[in-house]
């Protein structure tokens, strides 16, 4: 069903079933109430006069693990990873608790796969060269190909550092 700009009625004209179906039934089926299929979801636009329901996603891997890889890689426990249906945008948060074994930086970022393919990048990573354990979060509004997209955290450490990562969490608000 598609939205049609509601007709303007004039006195003494007969209202047909086709008009009811087009201007009342089909239009009501494009409202937020009609699109809402379950609790804790939200409704966004999906083009002119078109709405879609979106479901936020979150995943966590609490396990503390390390890497010395100087390019983005999975830890012994891959992820966390979140798969959601998105439009052309998604707001993504990636956080973890981490430290470096020396004064070289360690990074936690994420790659995107599915409808969109994007490698993990320093541009949306959390990063520090601190040897003291700390927590940090990154945020990025991604432009995506609409459809099913998977966001998987990945990790690296510069030079001779060993990065230690724990309480790894990724949260995606699809738009």
């Amino acid at each position: 069903m598609a939205w049609t700009s509601p007709m303007t009625a004039t006195e003494n004209t007969i209202w047909t079933s086709a008009q009811w179906n087009t201007h009342v039934r089909d239009n009501l089926n494009e409202t937020q109430a009609a699109k809402a299929t379950a609790a804790a979801r939200y409704i966004v636009t999906n083009g002119n006069n078109t709405l879609a329901e979106r479901v936020p996603g979150d995943a966590v891997v609490a396990t503390q693990q390390t890497t010395t890889s100087t390019s983005y890689t999975n830890l012994a426990t891959t992820g966390p990873a979140v798969t959601v249906t998105t439009g052309t945008k998604a707001l993504v948060f990636a956080r973890c608790t981490f430290d470096s074994s020396n004064s070289n930086s360690v990074y936690a970022s994420y790659a995107i796969s599915g409808a969109t393919t994007t490698s993990a990048s320093d541009n949306w990573a959390v990063r520090s060269n601190d040897t003291t354990l700390l927590s940090a979060c990154s945020v990025k509004l991604h432009t995506l190909n609409a459809g099913s997209n998977t966001f998987t955290m990945q990790y690296k450490a510069l030079s001779t550092a060993t990065g230690t990562f724990a309480n790894r969490r990724i949260t995606v608000l699809p738009l």
Binding site: S5, N49, V126, S138
Partner: protein, 178 residues
């Protein structure tokens, strides 16, 4: 067009054109689907007052360049921004993200934001992302800006240090207007 509480029908009544136009046409025109005319995908619908609403869209700007400052009051870096201009109601969720550090171990570097346009708000430590010391950090903070004047508002990142020289890179500002 405005929203009118839909009438309750009674058996034997006829629905006249004026009633259809008021309770069906005009009320449908106040729904999210009717308001979605910009072609945007991913916008949401916020109330602008009783029985009225408008489309809102999340916006982001970033400046990846690494630049420095030793100003103790909030200033622009050599590359101004990032800067985001959006239509807002009275509130907006503002995210700041960057890589930052300071040349000295005992001093802090700050990234905050100022608002201009319909509203004027100066950058403040209260809304800043802050890092003390000469170990680096790439992190974010979030602030719910309240008391905005509805309309077109521009949010621009600003920077300062308490001492030493601050360095900022991968600078990102995201605004979710309500």
């Amino acid at each position: 067009m405005v929203w009118t509480v839909p009438k309750t029908a009674a058996d034997g009544e006829t629905l006249n054109a004026a009633e259809y136009n008021m309770y069906v046409r005009d009320n449908l025109l106040e729904t999210h689907a009717a308001k979605a005319t910009s072609g945007n995908r991913g916008a949401w619908f916020c109330g602008t007052g009783p029985n009225a609403g408008a489309e809102r869209m999340c916006a982001e700007n970033e400046v990846l360049t690494s630049q420095s400052s030793s100003s103790t009051s909030y200033v622009n870096l050599s590359t101004v921004g990032p800067t985001v201009t959006v239509n807002t109601g009275e509130r907006a969720l503002v995210f700041l993200y960057c890589f930052h550090d300071n040349s000295l171990s005992n001093w802090s570097s700050y990234m905050s934001y100022a608002v201009s346009g319909a509203t004027t708000v100066a950058a403040s430590d209260d809304t800043a992302l802050r890092r003390q010391g000469n170990t680096n950090m790439q992190d974010m903070t979030v602030h719910l800006a309240m008391g905005l004047t509805p309309g077109s508002n521009t949010f621009q990142a600003k920077y300062r240090v308490a001492g030493g020289t601050g360095t900022w890179a991968v600078r990102r500002l995201i605004v979710m207007p309500f």
